[in-house]
Subunit: 193 residues, 2 copies
Amino acid sequence: MSALEQLIEALRRLPGVGQKSAQRMAYHLLQHDREGAQRLSAALAAAAQQVQHCQRCHTFSEAALCPVCLDATRDAKLLCVVETPADQAALERTGSYRGYYFVLQGRVSPLDGISTKDIGVAELLERASDGLVEEVILATSFTAEGEATAHVVGEVLRARGLRSTRLARGVPVGSELEYVDLGTIAHALVDRR
Amino acid sequence: MSALEQLIEALRRLPGVGQKSAQRMAYHLLQHDREGAQRLSAALAAAAQQVQHCQRCHTFSEAALCPVCLDATRDAKLLCVVETPADQAALERTGSYRGYYFVLQGRVSPLDGISTKDIGVAELLERASDGLVEEVILATSFTAEGEATAHVVGEVLRARGLRSTRLARGVPVGSELEYVDLGTIAHALVDRR
Ligand SMILES: [Zn+2]
Ligand SMILES: [Zn+2]
């Protein structure tokens, strides 16, 4: 394989990138943006080498502890459980949460043989039993697997005497009700404040 | 900026990749495919360093001359002119052309101040005047600028006594006529065989 073909192959492994997009990206970089190609190459190598997981909450971090875990001004009574570092970053970007996080390694999926053991629930239990956490907010996805994960994790926490809550289901901000799917409206009714 | 943020920035420079896609790609690579990140990093560096332009036809090549230019069995009477290495690769993939190529540096664009001088037409004239070329096939895009490029390049060639032809405009193979735009149908009528 030529260097160009190898580049197209490597770009195809990116999520959402098919053969045509990969070709377009490769030709664009080589024809118009070699500096961008060099920069992306360096950024990939640096990130793959430097970005590890926070030892406390398991989100991405370049240091042993992430900035959130190191921030002593956050509310130690709140622990928010998410499925991925991306979910943690999204919640953090809202600017509306002041507690700490715990990032699971994905979600339970009985069909794929992924149980609570595989996603780090034992570590979550240990983290939540620090004597400071009073409420564990289950912020897993509102998909079947995310709901199942929230359910089993909630049960495990309850067995240890730890209180858990779930993010509210509801109508997305900015939506016209007419265009929102019926299941969402039904949940928003149930979870009404 | 953290290594993760720098990676997201670098991914955003890819064509067709916005902030959300770049985030998704970065998190995916770090969470699920670090080997893919390393491989892409190496492929980018190798391609940016090794892929140059063929000295004869100016398409991408790792050697001084590309495989097509080195292939003595091709028809030296035919020279196909395209706008970019990607166009050359697309034509070559059709498997239906047996002549040589010449890749311009884009297309003329009066609005952007890009004239025949800027896209390598002088070099094309020299290449086409080798005494072997009998027909120059103008395979620039069927956009306003591509058509303008074909027109002026054709004029320049004619002034040198060189014959040029243009790719046929027409209905894309596999299309139902009902869904083809009217301009395309009109052109297909004019260019009917
Ligand atoms: Zn942390
Ligand atoms: Zn060549």
